[in-house]
Amino acid sequence: MDGVLGIEEYLVVASILFCIGLLGVILRRNVLLILMCLELMLNAVNLALVAFARYSGNMDGVILTFFAITVAAAEVAIGLAILVALYRRRKSIFLQDLNLLGR
């Protein structure tokens, strides 16, 4: 059974997920959704890391993912706090309304 499922399958899935997230970041205007898409990208990287760890038989990648999850939690907490503060100030969470430069 082993050997059928190689690392490249995981990496392909991870890179596709990463690009989906990236596309979301580029296309979406809602800051909330952009944050979510960033989380998607982060998770794609997590998947790749775990796959690397599993295929190299080493714990490091998994531990790194562990830290990534920790940091992501902190990041989301702060990001959402900023978002709520922004919303209270500007009554909008759409990027084009938050832009103070240009236009």
């Binding site: 990236l22 970041v25 580029i26 205007r29 952009i34 990027l95 240009g102 236009r103």
Partner: protein
């Protein structure tokens, strides 16, 4: 006892600082603080003078550049002691006078702050023991006089006058600074004591050029020819300022400088100063004769008296100059304060032809002013008589042309001062303001009385304490022993009697216009034009300079403002415009660029792997 001197110096400074930082809104406190500070300074100065203390050699290093070292120290010899007394004493009474004069002024706190700064810088000049320190305080005096002249900064006149004073003083100070630098280069020291020794040891180092440079400062500060034009204009300041600056202290600083550095000056310089001084005594007298503004009359009178002093210094009798400086400080301050009292009484009316008949309404002012007039005219046994007589004697012995000029000057002095007094206090009141005038309060009368006492009695040398009179008593005795004593005294008496009598005849029953204008119109107009000095300056200096300035302005507009400032700004702005086209705060655009960068990076990495 440097500490005591330092205390005298620092008390006004502290007062100024306190007013600046804490009492700008609290004018009454500021005034009390300033007056208190000047009182403390006077008491300390009197204490220092009557204790006859010696100055130890304690010096504070201020600036050290390689071998070159600048330090602050105190030199308190005879003339410094005399001037210290004059400045603190007269300064104190002027402060007291200001309390009354400036009572309702909106800028009262600012004014008293300025007075304190001025006291500080003036005292600094008095006690300085080297040229560098003197120069620092010299500039501070210039700055504070600028502040005070511009007190009524909302009037164009005061603004222009303060600017003029500042610019002309800078002009002189440049020469002075160059002279100081040259002195340092030649003698490798700036201290008066060391300089004196060096000048005695190497007289060949003294040149006319050095002397001319050094007296530039004197010429500007003492408003001597040809830089005298600022002083009459400076009357735009409040009257106490005119009294303080233009009678007792600031203009005296020039004379004082001359006395301090007279060992550095050579004969040619002295000759020039003597000539200029004599001419000034004459010229200013003529100008004063036709002025309508009471303060301008006094200003030209000051110029004339300064001419006396500088010429006296130039003919080698600096002690007599200091003596006249002191007595002049008393009676000129008295006259200015009296004029201030009159102006206050007439609700800021300064035209003498709109006054008249004030004798009964302002008796104290009238009588003290009369004493001042007598003193300045050199009426026998007033202070002015003693000092002026001595100067006439000295001139008679040393330099006859100067003597003649002095004599005519003395006649003119009596003439215009008499004119002033008759016009103000005698005859009929010629305006509503004059008819409604009333005597001023105690804070104004007290200084008048105190200064009148000194103006009358200041000439008796025996009344002076030893430590103050030492500077001039010797020369005084010397000139009195000379042969022409009696002759000169007669001439002097003739001069004031003639002057006062003439003025009584001319002006005692004047109506609204100057009788001289009818009797000698050409002479009158010549005097009124002040010999076209302002016009000549305007034509010879201001207009050509304006053209030069226009050229420079064009250059600046083109190169500095245009090419360098706007040009660099333009380049930056262009760059900014270019970059801001990408950088518009669009988060998604940033992300896109990020991805593009990622693609490039990955592509590069991939290609690198395949190679």
């Amino acid at each position: 006892m440097s500490d005591l001197i330092a205390a005298i110096l620092l008390v006004p400074l502290c007062s100024a600082a306190l007013i600046l930082f804490f009492f700008r809104r609290d004018a009454d406190t500021a005034a009390k603080l300033s007056v208190g500070a000047s009182a403390v300074a006077m008491v300390l100065a009197l204490f220092a003078l009557f204790q006859n203390i010696e100055i130890d050699a304690a010096r504070i290093s201020w600036l050290k550049l390689g071998d070159f070292e600048l330090s602050f120290g105190f030199l308190l010899n005879g003339d410094a002691r005399l001037l210290l007394f004059v400045v603190t004493f007269v300064g104190f009474w002027i402060h007291v006078f200001s309390l009354g004069y400036m009572r309702d002024d909106p800028g009262k706190a600012r004014f008293f702050g300025g007075l304190s700064v001025f006291m500080f810088s003036m005292l600094g000049i008095v006690v300085a023991d080297n040229l560098a320190m003197l120069f620092v305080f010299w500039e501070l005096v210039g700055f504070s006089s600028y502040l005070l002249i511009a007190h009524y900064f909302h009037t164009d006149e005061a603004r222009a006058a303060s600017k003029k004073a500042l610019v002309i003083n800078r002009l002189g100070d440049i020469g002075f600074l160059l002279g100081i630098v040259l002195t340092q280069v030649r003698f490798n020291t700036l201290e008066f004591a060391e300089l004196e020794q060096a000048a005695l040891a190497q007289p060949e180092l003294l040149t006319a050029g050095l002397g001319f440079l050094l007296i530039c400062g004197f010429v500007a500060k003492s408003a001597q020819f040809p830089l005298h034009v600022w002083l009459p204009d400076a009357m735009a300041g409040p009257t106490p300022v005119s009294a303080l600056i233009h009678a007792a202290t600031m203009v005296a600083a020039g004379i004082y400088l001359l006395v301090r550095i007279d060992f550095l000056l050579v004969q040619e310089v002295f000759s020039l100063i003597a000539l200029l001084g004599g001419a000034m005594a004459l010229y200013a007298g003529f100008c004063a004769l036709v002025q309508r503004d009471v303060k301008k009359v006094l200003a030209y009178s000051t110029l004339s008296q300064l001419g006396y002093m500088s010429a006296t210094v130039a003919i080698g009798m600096s002690g007599l100059a200091m003596f006249h400086l002191a007595t002049h400080a008393f009676f000129k301050a008295l006259l200015f304060l009296g004029a201030g009292s009159v102006i206050l009484g007439c609700h800021h009316e300064q035209d003498v032809f709109r006054m008249g008949g004030l004798r009964k309404r302002m008796p104290w002012t009238s009588w003290t002013f009369l004493l001042g007039v007598l003193a300045i005219s050199g009426v026998t046994f007033t202070s002015g008589f003693f000092s002026k007589d001595a100067m006439l004697l000295a001139a008679y012995e040393e330099n006859l042309p100067v003597f003649v000029m002095f004599l005519v000057g003395a006649l003119l002095t009596a003439l215009y001062m008499g004119r002033l007094h008759w016009l103000i206090f005698h005859g009929e009141s010629r305006s509503k303001a004059a008819r409604q005038a009333s005597e001023s309060g105690l804070t104004i009368i007290a200084p008048l009385v105190a200064l009148a006492l000194l103006a009358v009695l200041g000439g008796f040398v025996s009344l002076w304490p030893e430590s103050l009179s030492s500077v001039f008593v010797q020369e005084l005795e010397h000139v009195h022993e000379s042969t022409g004593n009696r002759l000169v005294m007669t001439f002097g008496a003739l001069a004031w009697i003639l002057g006062l009598w003439g003025s009584w005849n001319l002006y005692a029953r004047t109506r609204d216009e100057d009788p001289l204008m009818k009797k000698a119109p050409v002479f009158f107009r010549l005097c009124e034009s002040k010999l076209f000095f302002d016009e000549v300056y305007d034509f010879c200096i201001r207009r050509p300079l304006r053209h030069v300035a226009k050229v420079f302005e064009a250059l600046e507009l083109l190169f500095i403002s245009g090419l360098m400032v706007r040009g660099t700004a333009g380049i930056v702005a262009l760059l900014g415009l270019a970059t801001s086209a990408v950088h518009r705060g669009g988060l998604r655009v940033y992300a896109l660029w990020f991805v593009v960068g990622l693609v490039v990076l990955l592509g590069y990495a991939l290609a690198w792997w395949e190679f």
